[in-house]
Symmetry: C2
Subunit: 224 residues, 2 copies
Amino acid sequence: MTVSGKRAKPPRRAGRPSGDEQDLRRHLLDAALGQFARTGIAATSLRAIATEAGVTPAMLHYYFGDKARLLHAVIDERLLPALAPLRAQLERAGNDPPALTEAFVRGISDVVAGHPWLPTLWVREVLCEGGALREVLFDRAVPGVPQLLAQRFAAAQAHGQLNPALDPRLLVVSLVGLTLFPAAGAPIWRRAFDAEALGPEAMLEHTLALLGQGVGTPKRGEPA
Amino acid sequence: MTVSGKRAKPPRRAGRPSGDEQDLRRHLLDAALGQFARTGIAATSLRAIATEAGVTPAMLHYYFGDKARLLHAVIDERLLPALAPLRAQLERAGNDPPALTEAFVRGISDVVAGHPWLPTLWVREVLCEGGALREVLFDRAVPGVPQLLAQRFAAAQAHGQLNPALDPRLLVVSLVGLTLFPAAGAPIWRRAFDAEALGPEAMLEHTLALLGQGVGTPKRGEPA
DNA sequence: ATAAATTAATTGATCATTTAATTATTTGCA
DNA sequence: TGCAAATAATTAAATGATCAATTAATTTAT
């Protein structure tokens, strides 16, 4: 492909830039985010990102090094900043479980309204074992919430109510999925919440009950 | 990797089996389903499936031809049969929208109770544009439901309530996600349904409202 | 002021690796 | 032996990653 004009920006010719070095970098970041959100991280090749951005694959290496660092740049400069308002809301909620749950449900609804690609990416990627985004979404996306849920999870597990093989951090996925899947607006859970049909405690209870049978995937033995 | 012993079945040496030719085929099918459900279809290599099954990749070619046909075998012999009870329930509901919706919500809850890997696979794969399972899940998994929703979608669209760029078939994903995400048991929507807090019509309305802002992913221009 | 040198940005081609897919060969049982 | 089952070895395509060469903006020297 030549330097023909399907790129968004005016054809940047080679040479030292006039001061907007970071502009193309942001463009590449957005192209990567779009491709990741649309077709999944594992399924997107650097070539696909480069083609969408109207550059050669080598540019991605020039700006980001390798695919892992490109992904981390997307995480640090797109995903986590998008979640920043939610984290602030969680911060204000402190350590009170009901307040934290309420902050999560309300906050994520608001965040997603401005970033409709977020839940699709979140839900899809955290559901892939060994996925590159998994740990980030577990530990850095909404700090505090997984730990809170893990405590309650442990308690429920002690009473033999839960599948022992279940990762408690997946509880957050359940909250995301139930709260705003797949897009935005006024999700049913949020509505029920607002209508006092369910309080924060009840929502946690329901989530735990939901996962009582485990987020099962067939194992080695005799699955189906 | 050699044929060392992390396999589930006893080491099958070469040679004619004692009559269980289809046994290994089913074993491979289950291994493929498990890997697909656990790490995603696009991210799983035939090597991973073969390793999990304790055979060489050539066996997959021997029994299924190529990856696409292996996937179709998984669909036809695992995914769609798992959904058969749900389809029967939809059949009985006829063409009445509320009855169809109720049958869908109740039926899929029951189906997933016996196949906990189903919603994870469904939700993750249908969320990948260009994913191999997308059309199957759209058109063959729950025939009739997407069409029903598409009609209501068109009506809502005519009133300017919905994002024109939205694929109406994604409404089913919303139903799946809201009904039983991520696993099984007594999902909150089902509970609300049983408690008469929400009728079938209200559920449809909520789903439409949910999707009002679109399942957006960033496009070429200036996304973030 | 103009030309040369410098430096950053970008390209096209290419490397090694991995993957899917195929072929050839061996194994064991009837 | 004959034949199906399974493996090992092979091929072709795609992917991530790298490289030398090219281009032009900026700086430096004259």
